[in-house]
Protein backbone atom coordinates (compact mmCIF):
# COMPACT_ATOMS: atom_id res chain seq x y z
CA UNK A 1 0.00 0.00 0.00
CA UNK A 2 1.57 3.26 -1.11
CA UNK A 3 1.31 6.77 0.12
CA UNK A 4 -0.96 9.54 -1.06
CA UNK A 5 -0.41 11.27 -4.37
CA UNK A 6 -1.25 14.93 -4.87
CA UNK A 7 -1.83 16.39 -8.33
CA UNK A 8 -3.15 19.60 -9.82
CA UNK A 9 -5.70 19.94 -12.57
CA UNK A 10 -4.63 21.53 -15.86
CA UNK A 11 -7.32 22.60 -18.30
CA UNK A 12 -7.35 21.66 -22.00
CA UNK A 13 -6.07 25.13 -22.86
CA UNK A 14 -3.02 24.58 -20.65
CA UNK A 15 -4.12 26.92 -17.86
CA UNK A 16 -3.74 25.62 -14.34
CA UNK A 17 -6.21 27.28 -11.92
CA UNK A 18 -4.25 26.47 -8.77
CA UNK A 19 -1.00 27.82 -10.21
CA UNK A 20 -2.78 31.00 -11.28
CA UNK A 21 -4.20 31.37 -7.77
CA UNK A 22 -0.77 30.88 -6.22
CA UNK A 23 0.60 33.58 -8.55
CA UNK A 24 -2.13 36.03 -7.53
CA UNK A 25 -1.61 38.89 -5.08
CA UNK A 26 -4.00 37.27 -2.59
CA UNK A 27 -1.42 34.60 -1.85
CA UNK A 28 1.88 35.38 -0.12
CA UNK A 29 5.17 33.55 -0.06
CA UNK A 30 4.34 32.25 3.42
CA UNK A 31 1.01 30.94 2.14
CA UNK A 32 2.76 29.03 -0.62
CA UNK A 33 5.25 27.60 1.89
CA UNK A 34 2.40 26.46 4.16
CA UNK A 35 0.53 24.82 1.27
CA UNK A 36 3.64 23.09 -0.05
CA UNK A 37 4.52 21.80 3.42
CA UNK A 38 1.00 20.41 3.77
CA UNK A 39 1.14 18.68 0.41
CA UNK A 40 4.62 17.32 1.08
CA UNK A 41 3.43 15.80 4.35
CA UNK A 42 0.26 14.35 2.79
CA UNK A 43 2.42 12.63 0.20
CA UNK A 44 4.22 10.75 2.98
CA UNK A 45 1.04 9.42 4.59
CA UNK A 46 0.28 5.76 3.93
CA UNK A 47 -2.90 5.40 5.92
CA UNK A 48 -5.99 7.52 6.41
CA UNK A 49 -5.69 11.27 6.46
CA UNK A 50 -7.08 12.96 9.58
CA UNK A 51 -10.71 13.89 8.86
CA UNK A 52 -9.98 17.58 9.26
CA UNK A 53 -7.21 17.56 6.66
CA UNK A 54 -9.41 17.08 3.63
CA UNK A 55 -12.98 17.90 4.49
CA UNK A 56 -16.12 17.24 2.49
CA UNK A 57 -18.13 20.38 1.85
CA UNK A 58 -21.79 19.85 2.58
CA UNK A 59 -23.93 20.20 -0.52
CA UNK A 60 -20.94 20.17 -2.85
CA UNK A 61 -19.11 17.47 -4.75
CA UNK A 62 -15.69 18.90 -3.92
CA UNK A 63 -13.59 18.87 -0.77
CA UNK A 64 -11.45 21.50 0.91
CA UNK A 65 -7.85 21.10 1.92
CA UNK A 66 -7.40 22.91 5.22
CA UNK A 67 -4.22 24.94 5.36
CA UNK A 68 -3.24 27.54 7.94
CA UNK A 69 -1.82 30.34 5.82
CA UNK A 70 -0.25 33.69 6.57
CA UNK A 71 -2.95 35.25 8.82
CA UNK A 72 -5.65 33.60 6.74
CA UNK A 73 -7.21 30.20 6.19
CA UNK A 74 -6.32 28.79 2.78
CA UNK A 75 -8.81 26.33 1.36
CA UNK A 76 -7.60 24.84 -1.91
CA UNK A 77 -10.56 22.91 -3.36
CA UNK A 78 -10.02 19.39 -4.54
CA UNK A 79 -11.45 16.00 -5.35
CA UNK A 80 -10.26 12.65 -4.05
CA UNK A 81 -10.14 9.79 -6.52
CA UNK A 82 -9.38 6.10 -5.85
CA UNK A 83 -5.95 4.89 -4.82
CA UNK A 84 -5.27 7.80 -2.48
CA UNK A 85 -5.10 10.41 -5.15
CA UNK A 86 -5.96 14.01 -4.37
CA UNK A 87 -6.44 16.42 -7.28
CA UNK A 88 -6.31 20.13 -6.48
CA UNK A 89 -8.70 22.10 -8.65
CA UNK A 90 -8.40 25.72 -7.61
CA UNK A 91 -7.70 27.91 -4.63
CA UNK A 92 -9.96 29.67 -2.15
CA UNK A 93 -9.59 31.68 1.02
CA UNK A 94 -12.04 31.28 3.86
CA UNK A 95 -13.73 34.52 4.88
CA UNK A 96 -15.86 34.69 8.01
CA UNK A 97 -15.89 30.91 8.26
CA UNK A 98 -17.29 30.55 4.74
CA UNK A 99 -15.91 29.97 1.30
CA UNK A 100 -16.75 32.38 -1.52
CA UNK A 101 -19.58 30.96 -3.66
CA UNK A 102 -17.73 31.81 -6.85
CA UNK A 103 -14.79 29.63 -5.87
CA UNK A 104 -17.09 26.73 -5.00
CA UNK A 105 -18.91 26.99 -8.31
CA UNK A 106 -15.63 27.17 -10.16
CA UNK A 107 -14.34 24.08 -8.37
CA UNK A 108 -17.54 22.17 -9.14
CA UNK A 109 -17.18 23.11 -12.80
CA UNK A 110 -13.59 21.88 -12.85
CA UNK A 111 -14.60 18.62 -11.13
CA UNK A 112 -17.19 18.06 -13.86
CA UNK A 113 -14.52 18.63 -16.49
CA UNK A 114 -12.46 15.84 -14.92
CA UNK A 115 -15.51 13.54 -14.92
CA UNK A 116 -15.94 14.20 -18.63
CA UNK A 117 -12.30 13.33 -19.26
CA UNK A 118 -11.27 16.84 -20.12
CA UNK A 119 -7.93 18.39 -19.21
CA UNK A 120 -5.14 16.51 -17.49
CA UNK A 121 -3.57 16.10 -14.06
CA UNK A 122 0.05 16.79 -13.21
CA UNK A 123 1.92 15.82 -10.06
CA UNK A 124 1.99 18.81 -7.73
CA UNK A 125 5.73 18.39 -7.20
CA UNK A 126 7.19 17.43 -10.53
CA UNK A 127 10.32 16.03 -8.89
Amino acid sequence: MGSWRVSKYVKDNGRCPIDEWLDSKAVTENDIAALEAKIAVIETVEGKLPPETVKKLQGHDVKELKVRGDKKQLRPLCVVVPERHLIILCGAIEKGGKLPKGDLQRASGLAKEIEKGKGRVEDYFKD
Binding site: E29, A37, E43, T44, R68
Partner: protein, 160 residues
Amino acid sequence: MASVTFRRAFAASAVSERLAMQVYSLRMSRGWTQEKVAEETGMAQPRISALESDCHNVTLATLRRLADAYDVALQVKFVPFSSLLTETVVDVADKPVASFNLDRSPIERYQIWSGFSSNQKQSAPVHMTINPSPSVRLSASTPKPTAAPKITEAYTQYVQ
Protein backbone atom coordinates in the same frame (compact mmCIF):
# COMPACT_ATOMS: atom_id res chain seq x y z
CA MET B 1 14.29 27.28 0.08
CA ALA B 2 16.64 30.12 -0.87
CA SER B 3 14.24 32.66 0.62
CA VAL B 4 14.47 33.04 4.39
CA THR B 5 10.76 33.83 4.61
CA PHE B 6 9.83 30.75 2.62
CA ARG B 7 12.02 28.29 4.48
CA ARG B 8 10.91 29.51 7.90
CA ALA B 9 7.25 29.25 6.96
CA PHE B 10 7.81 25.87 5.30
CA ALA B 11 9.66 24.48 8.33
CA ALA B 12 7.01 25.74 10.76
CA SER B 13 4.19 24.27 8.69
CA ALA B 14 5.95 20.99 7.96
CA VAL B 15 6.65 20.34 11.64
CA SER B 16 3.11 21.31 12.61
CA GLU B 17 1.56 19.11 9.91
CA ARG B 18 3.72 16.09 10.67
CA LEU B 19 2.98 16.37 14.37
CA ALA B 20 -0.75 16.59 13.76
CA MET B 21 -0.53 13.58 11.47
CA GLN B 22 1.35 11.65 14.19
CA VAL B 23 -1.13 12.62 16.89
CA TYR B 24 -3.89 11.21 14.68
CA SER B 25 -2.06 8.06 13.59
CA LEU B 26 -0.95 7.27 17.17
CA ARG B 27 -4.58 7.31 18.25
CA MET B 28 -5.68 5.23 15.27
CA SER B 29 -2.95 2.64 15.80
CA ARG B 30 -4.05 2.15 19.42
CA GLY B 31 -7.72 2.03 18.45
CA TRP B 32 -8.47 4.80 20.94
CA THR B 33 -11.23 7.36 20.76
CA GLN B 34 -10.53 11.04 21.28
CA GLU B 35 -12.35 10.72 24.61
CA LYS B 36 -9.95 7.99 25.69
CA VAL B 37 -6.93 10.12 24.74
CA ALA B 38 -8.46 13.04 26.62
CA GLU B 39 -8.86 10.84 29.68
CA GLU B 40 -5.30 9.50 29.47
CA THR B 41 -3.73 12.94 28.97
CA GLY B 42 -5.99 14.96 31.21
CA MET B 43 -6.86 17.23 28.30
CA ALA B 44 -10.27 18.07 26.91
CA GLN B 45 -11.58 16.09 23.91
CA PRO B 46 -11.93 19.18 21.68
CA ARG B 47 -8.25 19.90 22.35
CA ILE B 48 -7.33 16.43 21.08
CA SER B 49 -9.44 17.03 18.00
CA ALA B 50 -7.70 20.37 17.42
CA LEU B 51 -4.26 18.80 17.81
CA GLU B 52 -5.09 16.20 15.17
CA SER B 53 -5.69 18.94 12.64
CA ASP B 54 -3.16 21.57 13.65
CA CYS B 55 -0.19 21.51 16.01
CA HIS B 56 0.85 25.06 15.20
CA ASN B 57 0.98 26.43 18.72
CA VAL B 58 1.50 23.25 20.66
CA THR B 59 3.76 23.34 23.74
CA LEU B 60 6.37 20.83 24.80
CA ALA B 61 4.32 20.13 27.92
CA THR B 62 1.34 19.09 25.79
CA LEU B 63 3.51 16.85 23.64
CA ARG B 64 4.97 15.23 26.76
CA ARG B 65 1.50 14.45 28.02
CA LEU B 66 0.68 12.75 24.75
CA ALA B 67 3.98 10.86 24.78
CA ASP B 68 3.30 9.66 28.32
CA ALA B 69 -0.22 8.56 27.44
CA TYR B 70 1.04 6.45 24.54
CA ASP B 71 4.22 5.36 26.39
CA VAL B 72 6.48 6.57 23.61
CA ALA B 73 9.52 8.83 23.63
CA LEU B 74 9.35 12.45 22.57
CA GLN B 75 12.29 13.76 20.58
CA VAL B 76 12.77 17.44 19.78
CA LYS B 77 15.98 18.68 18.20
CA PHE B 78 17.51 21.35 16.02
CA VAL B 79 18.48 20.20 12.53
CA PRO B 80 19.67 21.78 9.27
CA PHE B 81 16.91 22.65 6.82
CA SER B 82 18.14 19.90 4.49
CA SER B 83 17.38 17.27 7.17
CA LEU B 84 13.93 18.67 7.74
CA LEU B 85 13.26 18.69 4.02
CA THR B 86 14.38 15.09 3.66
CA GLU B 87 12.20 14.01 6.56
CA THR B 88 9.23 15.96 5.25
CA VAL B 89 9.28 14.52 1.76
CA VAL B 90 10.71 11.03 2.35
CA ASP B 91 9.88 9.66 5.81
CA VAL B 92 6.45 8.15 6.23
CA ALA B 93 4.46 10.59 8.36
CA ASP B 94 2.15 8.00 9.92
CA LYS B 95 4.74 5.33 10.61
CA PRO B 96 3.63 3.21 13.58
CA VAL B 97 5.26 4.16 16.90
CA ALA B 98 5.50 1.24 19.29
CA SER B 99 4.83 1.71 22.96
CA PHE B 100 7.64 0.70 25.32
CA ASN B 101 6.32 -2.81 25.93
CA LEU B 102 6.20 -3.58 22.22
CA ASP B 103 9.44 -1.85 21.35
CA ARG B 104 12.54 -4.01 21.05
CA SER B 105 14.70 -1.33 19.57
CA PRO B 106 16.25 -0.09 22.85
CA ILE B 107 17.71 -3.56 23.33
CA GLU B 108 18.93 -3.74 19.76
CA ARG B 109 20.45 -0.31 20.16
CA TYR B 110 22.24 -1.46 23.29
CA GLN B 111 23.68 -4.40 21.41
CA ILE B 112 24.92 -2.12 18.69
CA TRP B 113 26.37 0.23 21.24
CA SER B 114 28.13 -2.51 23.15
CA GLY B 115 29.54 -3.98 19.95
CA PHE B 116 31.02 -0.71 18.83
CA SER B 117 31.93 0.92 22.10
CA SER B 118 35.45 2.12 22.75
CA ASN B 119 38.20 -0.53 23.14
CA GLN B 120 35.84 -3.25 21.94
CA LYS B 121 35.66 -2.58 18.23
CA GLN B 122 37.64 -5.68 17.27
CA SER B 123 36.13 -8.10 19.75
CA ALA B 124 32.83 -9.88 19.80
CA PRO B 125 29.91 -7.86 21.14
CA VAL B 126 28.43 -8.49 24.55
CA HIS B 127 25.68 -11.08 24.22
CA MET B 128 22.34 -10.43 25.75
CA THR B 129 19.71 -12.91 26.75
CA ILE B 130 16.40 -11.30 26.35
CA ASN B 131 13.49 -12.61 28.31
CA PRO B 132 10.14 -11.60 26.91
CA SER B 133 9.31 -9.21 29.70
CA PRO B 134 9.83 -7.56 32.06
CA SER B 135 13.42 -8.51 32.90
CA VAL B 136 16.44 -8.33 30.68
CA ARG B 137 19.50 -10.34 31.64
CA LEU B 138 22.90 -9.43 30.34
CA SER B 139 25.42 -12.26 30.10
CA ALA B 140 28.84 -11.21 28.97
CA SER B 141 30.89 -13.77 27.12
CA THR B 142 33.64 -11.26 26.54
CA PRO B 143 35.14 -8.67 28.86
CA LYS B 144 32.77 -5.79 29.29
CA PRO B 145 33.71 -2.42 27.87
CA THR B 146 35.22 -0.04 30.37
CA ALA B 147 32.16 2.13 30.54
CA ALA B 148 29.71 -0.75 30.36
CA PRO B 149 28.94 -1.40 34.04
CA LYS B 150 27.44 2.02 34.61
CA ILE B 151 25.45 1.97 31.44
CA THR B 152 24.35 -1.62 31.94
CA GLU B 153 23.08 -0.74 35.36
CA ALA B 154 21.26 2.29 34.09
CA TYR B 155 19.89 0.38 31.17
CA THR B 156 18.67 -2.53 33.28
CA GLN B 157 16.80 -0.11 35.48
CA TYR B 158 15.38 1.52 32.40
CA VAL B 159 13.99 -1.68 30.95
CA GLN B 160 12.64 -2.95 34.24
